[in-house]
């Protein structure tokens, strides 16, 4: 047991937790003023529904349960976290640990729940300004259970897509996903695309201008995301060691390069260095380096960053061409960025990457794992989202959408600067 590692993992969990509020403001600033509260609430549901589901069975399915077919763990073994906690004589709970653990096992529950929260929160960008909070809460519960927890199990807990899994063995190279290129970003982006195709576009999409209402909030969100990402990436070393330190540094280098990549691309295309572009470039860089932060050189990290910045900047225009309303570009930023990071790692990974070791197998396993993750996420999400569409329904009425979902679904207005509102006050019974 190493208290330094414990301290680092506790704070890393807290940092990753803060990423979901970061996403809430990153997205919240980008929607129109009439929909910002709904946007913040979708992220809130990602926090609180996941918080409950994970405690009950999510942890067990992902990490604690006995492996079932390389796909998921049984929900019983770690139900209500029974496998990791015990009570001391004085009534105080503590962790059940083995000699092998380098920090208390219970901290893994903390660290991993924050990954589940942020992943499902990312999806909300695609469905902005139009979905009912009630349907979304149910979606979160189902998606964490049937998509996220199994995906984490498959990639990070010795399952099918893990370095020791069937795919890696078949191809002969250990699939690498340091902090969540597949589990988090490809997964969320695929789910976002599928959900958007089911629920449809916002009224006026592609015709009327739909502009961000509060760009400083977008920046605030991006800054909080970068800050939290230190826990995400450097925390994924699972120790306060040199690899954690390196992941911190490579994350910063790649993100810096990606932001510049996005900004210069935009400058060429539109003549401006925009703030939304800077915020988006940051996120693109963070996404791209996520699977690779521990295994690529500083130079490779910056090259990956620049490529991700340019590619995601261009990818965000696609939705207008293809006609799907991925409102805040979950596919363009997280899908493209996550896929690029996962695959470019096949070129740049120290020792085994194509450019480093001359062997194509790392690249192959990265590609295959990424594609399988897309398929799994698309199928599961499709079933869940479609079932909800046919039962509760996803969308508020068109009139409510136009007048503003905040008023309709939340019963609130985000801002009142004039303080001019006259109203009749009634107590709630």
């Amino acid at each position: 047991m190493d208290s330094g590692n414990a301290a680092w993992m506790l704070i890393s969990a807290s940092l990753v937790f803060l990423m979901t509020p970061g996403v809430a403001f990153f997205y919240g600033g980008m929607v129109r003023a009439k929909a910002v509260l709904n946007m913040l609430m979708l992220s809130t549901a990602a926090l609180v529904v996941t918080g409950v589901v994970w405690t009950f069975w999510g942890w067990s399915i992902a990490y604690a349960g006995n492996d079932i077919g390389g796909i998921f763990g049984d929900p019983g073994t770690g139900f209500l976290l029974h496998d990791v906690i015990q009570v001391n004589d004085d009534g105080v709970y503590t962790s059940i640990d083995t000699n092998a653990t380098t920090y208390p096992h219970i901290i893994d529950v903390a660290f991993q729940v924050t990954f589940a929260m942020i992943t499902v929160a990312l999806i909300t960008g695609a469905i902005a300004e139009r979905v009912k909070f009630s349907t979304w809460m149910l979606f979160v519960a189902l998606w964490i259970t049937f998509d996220y927890a199994p995906m984490a199990h498959m990639v990070w807990n010795g399952g099918l897509l893990s370095p020791d899994g069937a795919i890696s063995q078949w191809i002969g190279a250990a699939a690498h996903d340091f902090a969540g290129g597949t589990v988090v970003h490809i997964n969320a982006a695929t789910a976002a695309l599928v959900t958007v195709l089911i629920i449809g576009k916002r009224k006026g999409f592609g015709k009327e201008p739909i502009k961000p209402h509060n760009v400083p909030f977008v920046m605030l969100g991006a800054f909080l995301l970068w800050f939290g990402w230190f826990g995400f990436n450097a925390g994924s070393a699972f120790a306060a060691n040199g690899t954690a330190g390196y992941a911190w540094v490579s994350t910063t280098a790649a993100t810096s390069a990606a932001t510049l990549g996005w900004l210069f691309t935009e400058r060429i295309r539109t003549g401006h260095f925009t703030a939304i572009g800077a915020a988006s470039g940051m996120v693109a860089g963070l996404v791209c380096i996520t699977p690779a932060a521990d295994v690529v050189s500083p130079l490779a990290a910056m090259i990956m960053g620049v490529i991700a910045g340019i590619a995601t900047c261009c990818a965000c225009s696609l939705k207008f061409k293809l006609g799907y309303d991925d409102s805040l570009d979950v596919v363009g930023v997280h899908g493209v960025g996550g896929f690029l990071g996962t695959v470019m790692l096949g070129f740049f990974m120290a020792n085994t990457g194509l450019f480093e070791g001359g062997d194509w197998r790392q690249l192959a396993v990265q590609l295959v794992v990424a594609l399988l993750a897309i398929v799994y996420s698309a199928v599961i999400t499709g079933i869940i989202a479609f079932a909800l569409e046919k039962t509760m329904g996803w969308r508020v009425s068109e009139r409510d959408e136009v007048m503003g979902i905040d008023m309709a679904d939340q019963g609130e207005r985000a801002y009142d600067f004039a303080g001019m509102s006259t109203a009749i006050l009634k107590e709630v019974k």
Binding site: E208, V402, M403, M407, G411, E412, R413, M420, S421, T422, A423, I424, L425, K426, E427, V428
Partner: protein
């Protein structure tokens, strides 16, 4: 010269602007307003309290027009702004003594 003022639903601004452009009106002034009338306000909820907000966001459009055009433009605006539900707003026409273009100092029809 006349000044046509219209209080309309916010979502109708684009339609009114397009309809006016279609009849050759290329200048208007737009501002925010809040209306109180037959239309019922929303209920907002904050912790233990419920509010019925009776001031409802509206858009004010002002159009300067020659005397001859005024009534046609009123019709154009009314048609474009109509949703048929309570709260669609009002249009009124006021006489003016003069209109001047700031840039050039031109007055009258030339100023519009």
């Amino acid at each position: 010269m006349k000044l046509i003022t219209a209080i309309i639903q916010p979502i109708k601004l684009d339609d009114v602007k397009a309809a006016l452009a279609a009849v050759g009106v290329h200048g208007i002034t737009v501002s925010e307003a809040n209306g109180y009338g037959r239309q019922h306000g929303h209920t907002e909820v904050y912790r233990g309290a419920e509010y019925t907000v009776d001031l409802i966001p509206k858009i004010r459009i002002e159009v300067l027009a020659d005397d001859a055009d005024a009534s046609t433009l009123v019709d154009v605006i009314v048609k474009a702004a109509q949703t048929g539900t309570i709260g669609d707003g009002k249009v009124w026409v006021a006489p003016l003594d003069s209109v001047t273009r700031v840039r050039t100092g031109e007055t009258g029809s030339a100023a519009i």
